[in-house]
Amino acid sequence: MDMTSLAETFSALADENRLAMVERLMTEGELPAGALVQDAGISGPAISRHLRVLREAGVISQRAEGTKRFYSVRRDALKAISNWTIDHRYFWESGLDRLETMLAEESE
C-alpha cells in the first residue's frame, strides 16, 4: 500500500457511519451497495458519498456486475494500519509487566 495514503485511510475511518460500514464488510465479506443502504439508517446518497470516501482512501474496492456495485474491504490497506501502530492497551500492559520485573529485581 502507498504509505502517503495512510493518513487518508485514518481520516476515512474516522467517521462512525463509515467505520460501521467497514466493520460490516469485514465481518460479512463482499456486499452490494443496496445491502449497505438498507441497514445503515442513512440515505442512499449519503451511503454513496461514504463509499466514495472509503474507495478513494483505498480502504474498500468496488466491483461492477451489470448495473450493480459490490463492495469489499481491501485487506492490505487495513493491514498497513495494523502494522503502523500498536494497540495502546497492549503497549502499556506489556510495558508495566517489564517495569514490574525491573523494580522487583532492584528490591531483591
Binding site: 495512510l6 493518513a7 501502530t85 494497540d87 492497551r89 508495566l96 517495569l99 514490574e100 525491573m102 523494580l103
Partner: protein, 142 residues
C-alpha cells in the same frame, strides 16, 4: 480509542516509582512490549518539552511515537501528549497520557491514563474509531 486506565502496585517508594517512569535510563528498560528495541529516542519525561521514541520490532518494522511533556509534579504525576507517526513521519491523531503515583502503606501505585485529546465529538469519534478498528483488525488479520 476508548480511554484506557491501567493500575499497578509496586513495592517501591513513590520517589523511586516516579523516577522509573520519567527518567530516560529507566524508561528505556521497560518502554513498550518485549522484543521491541528503542534505537532512537529522546525519552526524558522528567521535564516539560518534546519527547519521541522510535521502536523497532524483530522484523525491522519501525514504530515512531512523539509528544510533549505538558505537566510534571514530582513524585505525584507527569502528563504528556502522544501521537504515532506513519512511514513518512506524518503525525497521527494526538492523545494524552498521565502517569499518577499514589503512595500506599507498602509501596506505591501507578495509574496510567491514556485519553483521546479534546472533548469535541469529532476527536472522540476519531479515537474511538481508531481503537475499535484496530482491535477488530487484530482478530481478523491473524
Amino acid at each position: 480509542m476508548s480511554d484506557i486506565r491501567l493500575e499497578r502496585s509496586f513495592g517501591v517508594s513513590p520517589e523511586r516509582l516516579f523516577a522509573a517512569v520519567t527518567s530516560q535510563a529507566d524508561l528505556l528498560q521497560w518502554w513498550g512490549p518485549e522484543g521491541l528495541h528503542v534505537p532512537e529516542h529522546a525519552l526524558d519525561l522528567s521535564q516539560t518539552g518534546p519527547w519521541y521514541s522510535v521502536m523497532v520490532n524483530e522484523e525491522g518494522q519501525r514504530f515512531k511515537v512523539s509528544g510533549q511533556v505538558t505537566s510534571i509534579d514530582p513524585p505525584k504525576s507527569v502528563g504528556f501528549t502522544w501521537a504515532w507517526h506513519d512511514d513518512e513521519d506524518t503525525r497521527g491523531p494526538e492523545s494524552h497520557v498521565t502517569f499518577s503515583i499514589v503512595a500506599m502503606e507498602e509501596g506505591a501505585r501507578l495509574i496510567v491514563d491514556h485519553r483521546a485529546l479534546g472533548d469535541d465529538e469529532v476527536a472522540q469519534n476519531h479515537e474511538m474509531g481508531w481503537g475499535s478498528s484496530l482491535n477488530k483488525l487484530e482478530t481478523l488479520i491473524k
